[in-house]
Every structure is written in C-alpha cells, then in structure tokens.
C-alpha cells in the first residue's frame, strides 16, 4: 500500500478551480490523475466535475477531457475506447469515465450496464456525493436514508442503491469501493485498475460540504467518520476475490469505531432525524457490515 509520503509530488491539477470549498472531488482527482500518470482521457457527463473542470476557454486540469451528455458516460467512453483501438492509439492512454452518483446510479445506469456486459476497456469511477449536488441537492438513487434533500424535505425514506454490488453482478474483473478521504486508498485502487483491462469499476464516497451541510474544513474528517461507522466500506473485488482494504481492513479486526448516531450528528442534512430512523439505519449498517466480515473471512 502506498504511503501518503510516497504519493507523487507533481500534480496535473492546475492552481485554482471552480469546485466548492472543501469539495472531496478535488482531493481525489489529484490522486486519480497521478495514478494514471496523466496518460488518460477523462470522459465526463454533466456533474460537479464539469464545474471543477472549468468553463471555456479555461481549464483546471491538464488532461484530455471529453464532456458528454448526462446519460451517456459509459457509452461515450466505450466509443472513445473503440475509436482509440481503431486508430491504433489504445496504448497511448487509459479511458477514465468519471461520473457522479446520479450520472451512475440513475440516468447513466443503462449505459453503464451495457458497457459492463460488453466488458469495455475503461476505468469507470463514480464519485458518490450522495445526491444531485450540481443541480442543487436533489435526491438520487445513492442518497442515504434519512437525508434531507431539495426533493426529500423530510428525509429520504429509502436506502441507497448498492452500485458496486450491481457491477459485481455484471462479472467485471475489478470492482472497488473507496473514499476521497483516503487518498492513498484511491491512488492504489486506480493504479491497480490501470494495470488491468476490461471494465474496472471504482465507487468513491465523496463528502460534499454544501450538499451535506457541514464546514468545508471537515471533508476528510467526515469521510473517515463514514468509514469508521461502516456506512462506507473500503474494499475491492478482483476476479471474484473479495478483500477489505485500508481502514476497513483494520476495522474488521478492531470493530467499527463510530455509530450512525455520531455520524448523522455531524451534518445538517440529517438534522431532526428521529431516534427510530437512526436505529433503523444502524441495524441496516450492522447487517451489511456483518456481511462484509463474512466475505472477508471467506465464508
């Protein structure tokens, strides 16, 4: 595992971008682009990442970046990959499709499912900030239960879609779950995915100060708290082999270090959540975490 001091000093991120203060995407994008050594084409639908990338005629990241329509991420990236093969340029760069949770779990899931079934040659990375943050915090299929959004004013009633599990069901060679709050975990997973072929799926929890309603200085703290509470689990599945990674692997030995109640108390989006709902989510987390522990134990 790469140590934080071993991460590349050079960044492909240019000084200044249009992301909100404390946005988790920027922390991770630096590691993602570094892990690909800048030899990538980033395929990006409408999302917060579009805003971060910049408005014509300026850009904030020195990589080839192709903006494409909201539902089309995995299909457009399939086309880029096919085009590069047809042009004899496939070895020049990794195709990195990078979309938000709405663009992945909701409007983009058909194209993603098709690309996964065809095992298209790309890394698909979903940065999951758990709602439509770019359009003003509307609920997505990835919004957690209890979260207030501008379309779930009294708190979302349902649990989020488990997109990594959906991708596992497509039998792709590499599925990983990570967090923007753990740069080395992000770096290692992207670097590993770079060395593989076919469709590689990485799901990255990405704290959002404006959408989750917390102080921008707490992005990393809250991202780590989500892992400590077992709401976000760091793992990878390579050719069917499951392993917890990083902090989650340590928590498997020590036990979870935080509760759902502690986690939801840190964010405005959960304000006023009833004890019953908190208990319901805690039970859901406990059951899910127990399932991960069983998988880790090879059961």
């Amino acid at each position: 595992m790469t140590r934080i001091t071993d991460l590349p000093a050079e960044s492909i991120m240019l000084p200044g971008n249009r992301a909100c203060a404390g946005c988790g995407i920027g922390i991770a994008l630096r590691q993602i682009t570094s892990a690909l050594d800048g030899k990538l084409v980033l395929v990006n639908p409408a999302s917060c990442l579009t805003v971060l990338g910049g408005m014509y005629p300026t850009a904030s990241v020195a990589v080839p970046w192709l903006n494409i329509a909201f539902p089309s991420t995995a299909a457009s990236a399939s086309g880029v990959a096919a085009g590069l093969r047809a042009m004899g340029r496939a070895d020049e760069m990794t195709v990195l499709a990078m979309a938000g949770d709405g663009g992945t779990a909701d409007i983009g899931i058909q194209a993603l499912s098709g690309a996964a079934e065809r095992n298209e040659d790309m890394i698909y990375l979903c940065y999951d900030n758990e709602a439509y943050m770019n359009t003003g915090t509307q609920r997505s299929g990835s919004t957690p239960q209890g979260a207030r959004t501008t379309t779930t004013w009294s708190g979302k009633k349902e649990n989020p879609k488990d997109v990594p599990a959906i991708m596992e069901a497509h039998n792709v060679g590499y599925v990983a779950s990570t967090s923007a709050a753990y740069p080395t975990d992000v770096y290692d997973k992207v670097a590993k995915a770079r060395g593989l072929s076919g469709l590689r799926y990485i799901h990255m929890n990405t704290p959002c100060p404006s959408g989750w309603s917390f102080d921008p200085k707490d992005t990393v703290r809250l991202g780590r708290l989500a892992v400590d509470a077992g709401l976000v689990v760091l793992y990878e599945v390579q050719d069917g082999e499951f392993h917890l990674t990083g902090r989650s692997a340590a928590l498997a030995k020590s036990g979870l270090k935080a509760t759902v109640a502690e986690y939801v108390a840190t964010q405005g989006r959960f304000r006023g959540m009833s004890p019953e709902t908190i208990a319901e989510i805690q039970a859901w987390v406990d059951k899910r975490w127990a399932g991960f522990l069983k998988r880790e134990a090879g059961e």
Partner: protein, 420 residues
C-alpha cells in the same frame, strides 16, 4: 426514373452491376467508405444494415470496431466518443430509435462531429407502426445535421459515400434518409463503384485527429457562457451564440458543398444525383409537384400521365432538406401557377414541414405560385400514382376555380373525420 432527370450522366466507370435492398446499399456504402467504428441497436426497418456490417466485421471483411450497444442513445454516444478521437463512424436507426437518441443527435451536431447516420424512415409511435413515413427524421430537422433524402437504392449507396466527404469537410454530421420498406427492403439493381474509385474520392479522415492527446491536453465541449470570454493568454474566445452562428454557417455552406461533392463523385464513379434538388419535365411546367424521397418516383409517373391529359406538370425533388435549398427552389418555382407539396410528415397543429419551409422560401419573391400542401403515406398508407394523380387533378381544378390557399389535404384518407 424517366424523362429529363437531372440524374445526369449515368455512365459506368468501373462498377459492378448487382441487385440489393436499400439497407444493403447503405451497409455497402459504409464498407466502401472504410468506416472504422460502427455502433448500433436493432430497430425495424433499419436492422439489416447493421446485421450486415456486424457480419463483415466478424468475418474480417471489414476491419472495423462494431459495438453492439444496449440502446440507440448509446449507439450515437459510442459514435460521438469514437468520432472525437478521429475515427470514421457510422450508425443507422429508424423512428423511435431516432427519437430515443435525440439528445445525442443534438450533441453530435453541436460537437461538430462528422458522423454519418442512415435513417430508414419509419412512422413514429404511438400507436405502433413499423411502416414508412418521414416523421422521424423530419422531427430532428432543426438539430444541425445535414439531411439528404434518397429516391432509390443506388442513390442510397452513392449518397452515403458522399455523406462522409461532406461531413468531414464541413465538420457536421450527415443524415442519409431513405424510406423504410419501400427502399430499405426492396431489391433494386445497383451498380457498385470500384473500391479504388471510392478510395480516391474519399481518402481517410484527417480532421480532428489529435483532439484527444495527453501530450497536448484539451477540455473538449466544456461549459460555454453566453458571451465571449478571454483565455489564459487574454485572447477573446467565442461565447455560446458565436459557436451556434459558426454551426449555422457550416450547415449553410453545404448548399455549395453538396452539389460540388456530388459532382466530384460523378467524376470518380460516374453518377451524380442533382446536388440539392433535381427535376423532371420542369422547364415548361405550370404545375409542379414537390416532395422528398421515394414518393417522387410515383410523382414522376403522375407527371407523365397528366401531361398526356394535357396538363403541364413537372416534378421538383428535394434531395437536400437541411440546409434547405430555398434559393434553388424559389428560382425554379417562380412564375409557375401552382405548386403541390407531398409531405410524408406533419408538424401537428400546422402543416407539412416541407410545405411550410417552401412557403417561407417563396415569401417576398416575385411571380410566386399558389402552394397547396398535402399529407400522404403516413404509417405506410399506400401512395399510388392514381391517388396522387387524383389529388393533383383536384388541386388544379381548385386553382382554376380561383382558390389560392387551401387547408392541408390528407391524401387517400379512407374514413370520416378528415378532409377529402
């Protein structure tokens, strides 16, 4: 086609005579064009185009990438991705498939990608109907693609090859439209051009080859604001509206490029198709029948028959519908008594799209003829020369009775509720 058709010099250079369907002609054209990436999703009546292409790719006869996607939206998305990195790309669809990819129809145009797409024209649902009319492609006429309409299978083959030249020269996508079943599934004699002749006419794509390059990174298609903004060097760059104006200029330049490229194709392959519009028996015509696509074959027969009855009838066929050849049409229609437009699509709440466009093209001109709009052939309704001749006779009689404007006539409407 009979009479003085502007099909012009139909001289075989090195071609091979065969017979094939319109769909086979479209697939063959894509192969002759040496397409590099094809993505498609099945829909009747287009499916045989991509079935044929996938067979050629699997057998190695066509060295290309074939991506069998999960939807039409993704089909055009794949083409957008592949075209952006410099590959020559092709797809085909019909009806609801085209409607489903509409977002990407706009995207491909705005991104100025030289994608060629064949449309086997089919009626729009609901209700379901797999048969022909032109509502599908007419409904995306405003999206910024060049739209070419074909009369027969030879024209499908030749026009699809020409479309790549046009698309890559102007950096705009091109739609080649042909009537579903009437052409897509009908076997006709077709002369295959020699591959060498096509290669000379259509060299490999050279535009936009290094748009995506890690050693020279660019952000392609980012957010563009309303007004021009300075780049990092302080140089002003266009705003959204400037880009749209550039797009319009590129599309309009097809009014020059379509006939020129048609002519160059003729030099290499031995056939031309009239460029923007073509005509039959038009010089002395008092009554002109205007349409696009295969219905013009019936209209040509109607004109011949009515001439035998003493009416001076001619046909003006629209090959290029977008950009709209307003000047060419106005020039050839000035001074006539009556123009009858045979639309196979409807702008619901108004009239047929060609009719409305043609009236606009004639506005402000001198010696403007009366223009009567008709709708025919929706959802596969037969467009027999007899019915079209009757429609023409009634229109001529109305005109003789002093009528200069009429409600749109629905031709061959068989039950109550419609006009005639």
């Amino acid at each position: 086609m009979t009479g003085q058709s502007s099909k012009g010099n139909h001289v075989s250079v090195t071609g091979t005579a065969t017979v094939m369907t319109g769909n086979e002609a479209a697939a063959t054209a894509a192969k002759l064009a040496r397409v590099q990436v094809v993505a498609a999703y099945p829909i009747t009546p287009q499916s045989p185009v991509v079935e044929q292409i996938s067979a050629w790719v699997e057998s190695g006869e066509l060295p290309a990438e074939f991506v069998a996607v999960e939807s039409e939206h993704s089909a055009l998305s794949v083409c957008i991705g592949a075209s952006t990195v410099g590959a020559r790309t092709f797809t085909a669809t019909s009806s609801n498939g085209l409607a489903y990819m509409t977002e990407q129809v706009w995207w491909a145009a705005g991104a100025r990608l030289p994608i060629v797409m064949c449309i086997a024209n089919r009626a729009m649902a609901a209700p379901w109907n797999v048969l022909n009319d032109q509502q599908d492609s007419m409904s995306v006429r405003d999206a910024g693609w060049v739209q070419l309409y074909c009369r027969d299978n030879q024209e499908i083959l030749d026009t699809t090859i020409q479309a790549f030249r046009l698309a890559e020269e102007l950096s705009v996508p091109v739609m080649v439209c042909y009537d579903g079943f009437l052409l897509s599934h009908t076997v006709m004699p077709v002369e295959l051009p020699a591959p060498e002749a096509v290669d000379t006419f259509l060299p490999p794509r050279t535009d936009g080859l290094q748009v995506i390059d890690p050693t020279d990174p660019r952000n392609v298609g980012p957010v563009v604001m309303a007004d021009p903004r300075p780049d990092a060097d302080g140089v002003m760059r266009p705003g959204y509206m400037e880009f749209r104006a550039m797009h319009q200029a590129a599309i309009v330049s097809a009014l020059e490029a379509v006939p020129r490229i048609d002519g160059e194709f003729g030099e290499h392959v031995g056939r031309t198709w009239g460029g923007l519009v073509w005509e039959q028996d038009l010089d002395d015509a008092d009554v002109v029948l205007v349409a696009a696509g295969s219905i013009t074959t019936q209209l040509a027969l109607v004109a011949e028959q009515l001439r035998q009855e003493g009416m001076r009838v001619g046909v003006l066929g629209i090959r290029c519908y977008r950009p709209f050849p307003a000047a060419a049409l106005a020039d050839r229609l000035a001074g006539r008594s009556l123009v009858i437009v045979f639309d196979k699509a409807m702008s619901y709440g108004y009239e047929g799209p060609i009719c409305a466009d043609l009236k606009a093209a004639l506005y402000g001109q001198s010696d403007v003829p009366a223009v009567f709009g008709t709708i025919s052939g929706l959802g596969g309704r037969d467009t027999s020369p007899e019915d079209l001749a009757d429609t023409t006779r009634r229109a001529v009689a109305d005109h003789a009775a002093g009528i200069r404007t009429r409600p749109t006539e629905w031709v061959n409407l068989k039950m109550t509720g419609g006009a005639r």
